[in-house]
Symmetry: C2
């Protein structure tokens, strides 16, 4: 027996290609962690007919269905109406929910539009789920074989309600098989080459399952184990990881379920070091990813997006003579950018990127995809040139940022010293 | 008669919450533009049973089904096998596709692993779709009532194959009803307040349909019309936009289907002006969004992520006395940051952000959500203080970036002068 969960994202903007569902991804990870099996998600428009069909089908297949979206105050939010229709009864008004909505708005000094009252109506038999972060309460109601949960579409509200109500309710069901994951991060080989190396691990039905995903050249080997307890699942993951590690040693540079910028922040915090960035071709992308990590401000001293030569000269102190002699995309300029950023931000380490992301700007000597990276430490700066495949501007920039993380993570804690790689 | 399309994203990493499907969003927009109606998407694991069920169900409901993913060279890529099984026949080998794959790899100086040969096998009756950007060919094959298309999961490869094969094939079907969209961008009111203002437009079944989506305080009014021709649909959108505009005049600051950073780049290009950024609380997020736009380098002079006071002093030349007297989050410091960035990057305009994104750092006087924005032009700098709702670090940073775009877009082309708003 397993607990099967399905996710349903609701909203015209999603099926019209004007918005992206990120809620189901988050919910899938959380539900699997506690032991529900997620095999499918759906996305549907607000159209009452399609919405009704999608909810009914999911509730016929799964034990737990979590729908997100369609609980707003505007007339195009129809989840509550469609569920009431599906259950064959009228909506009922919950004065306590209406009071919560008014309190929430007033406490933020906002007016209380009468239309928010819509959000205090619920389908027959539904249990309201109060929303501490917004005006849209969720609700729980049995539909068919499923426990159906409706949550607001705003991610932080959805996460709050899932955390206090949905996940605890699911965690109490019998038949859970907790899932554990391990990720190995690899840069270098093609997906096919990596797949050959670890092929025996990738057969269908293996537990732990092993899969590979590629994102702008970054390959992630995902190990996923399901077991009777979380501890067993984790032990199985660890055992498979131990078998895989020697097979991918030369490409492996990071492990764990944290995103790479999170890992970098964690390592910098642990080492008590600060980092500065000087970005030309990556144009603030690396800085932005770092700043997304809570706590980054204590290790990230700052960065410069130095596109033009003027910025490289004046903000980073790159000698004009270096720019003239070697060009902006060169190892000496990358090294000078890193040293300049390290000095000006008073940082322990600095990384610089300068390259040709395309679509224009390539030459026979320095084609699109040429990226120079440099790392400056107290012991000086070192630089290297990468020839990345020209798979589009976005690819080159993303791939260059992966290389920044590898530079910082791959060289080992000892000194984050470039020598090991550059 | 309409042409109903469904999208299916395939991959264990998607249902395990380790990856996000962005392909269906893009395909939905493109398919609707040419006149197919998209009501639902699905996401499914690589598990053969679930994959087979999801493909069979979609092909029973829709006229066109486009699946993405599961065509890679590794053993966890099973789309071709599952489709062959569904069609009750063996896979067949296409030497021409295998040659293309080898040529593609060799032309990039990569080895040709034997496992890539898997990618040249196709289900019975399938038409291979050559891939100019990678090793995974797609294929087209009828399943049930549907034309089924399998495309690779890598977005740039998927988009290339969709553009050359899927969209032209769909565009030739009878019964298309092209869809046009218009978006009005609004900052200021709550979603409920905006919904009340435009309620008569938001009733179910209206054509054009009008909906509202919220993203970190940015409200987008989406107008979606379907008609016999694209021109008619566009005219209907324009008519509804003309009715809505006066109702939201005081909050409206941008229109069109471009993302806001794209609009900013377009306006800067049109005005022949360059922009620099000095970001404290937004930490490179605004710069990164700008740099994502192709062509940004000709208008974006550069930016500084100046978290700490040292960076504000040394890189932007903010007087230490201002920092001491007013604090880093203050209008005088924001103005000095903008002036410093404008001067150092030799830009026509510069915008600075400094604020408290949380979770820590708030005071009774300057709570989390306090953000100072400044705009420097040739005529000097002006600054303003925003009190954004404390809905989390991510919200405050995103909302502050929306305000940067409003600052640049809202004041009109004449001078991008702050006076109009600040």
């Amino acid at each position: 027996m397993t607990v099967v969960a399905e996710l349903l994202a609701i909203g015209d903007e999603l099926v019209h290609g004007a918005g992206l569902d990120t809620n189901s991804k988050w919910l899938a990870g959380e539900l699997e962690r506690i032991g529900a099996a997620v095999h499918r998600f759906g996305v549907t428009s607000d159209d009452p007919g399609h919405l009704r069909g999608a909810i009914a089908e999911a509730c016929a297949r799964a034990d737990v269905v979590v729908a997100t979206g369609g609980l707003g105050p505007t007339l195009d939010d129809r989840t509550r109406d469609v569920v009431a229709d599906l259950l064959g009864g009228p909506l009922w008004f919950d004065p306590a929910s209406w009071q919560q909505i008014q309190d929430w708005l007033r406490s933020r000094g906002r007016p209380v539009p009468d239309s928010n009252r819509r959000q205090a109506f619920f389908p027959p038999g539904a249990l309201p789920i109060g929303n501490p972060c917004g005006t849209a309460p969720g609700f729980a109601v049995p539909i068919g074989r499923a426990r159906f949960f409706a949550l607001p579409g705003v991610p932080r509200e959805m996460q709050a309600l899932a955390g206090t109500h949905v996940l605890p309710a699911v965690a109490a069901l019998p038949g859970l098989r907790p899932v554990a994951q391990s990720w190995l991060r690899v840069l270098g080989p093609s997906e096919a080459l990596l797949g050959e190396r670890i092929a025996p691990f990738m057969v269908a039905g293996r537990n732990p399952a092993v899969g590979v995903t590629a994102q702008s050249g970054l390959l992630t080997i995902r190990i996923v184990a399901a077991a009777a307890t979380r501890e067993q699942a984790e032990a199985q993951c660890a055992a498979t990881a131990a078998e895989l590690r020697p097979l991918v040693r030369e490409w492996l540079f990071a492990e764990g379920l944290l995103d790479l910028p999170e890992l970098v922040v964690q390592r910098l915090l642990a080492a008590g070091r600060t980092l500065a960035l000087a970005e030309s071709c990556t144009g603030g992308l690396a800085a932005s990813r770092l700043v997304d990590v809570p706590g980054a401000s204590s290790v990230f001293a700052g960065g410069v997006v130095a596109y033009g030569n003027a910025a490289k000269l004046e903000l980073l102190g790159v000698p004009g003579e270096l720019l003239q002699r070697h060009g902006a995309v060169s190892e000496p300029v990358a090294a000078a950018m890193a040293e300049g950023a390290r000095a000006r931000f008073h940082a322990d380490l600095a990384v610089a990127t300068t390259g040709i992301a395309g679509p224009g700007g390539g030459t026979p000597d320095k084609p699109v995809g040429t990226v120079c990276l440099a790392l400056a430490t107290g012991a000086g700066a070192r630089a290297a040139t990468l020839k990345l495949p020209d798979l589009g501007r976005g690819f080159v920039r993303e791939r260059a940022v992966h290389e920044v993380w590898r530079l910082l993570l791959g060289a080992g804690d000892a000194a984050f010293v470039a020598a090991a790689r550059l």
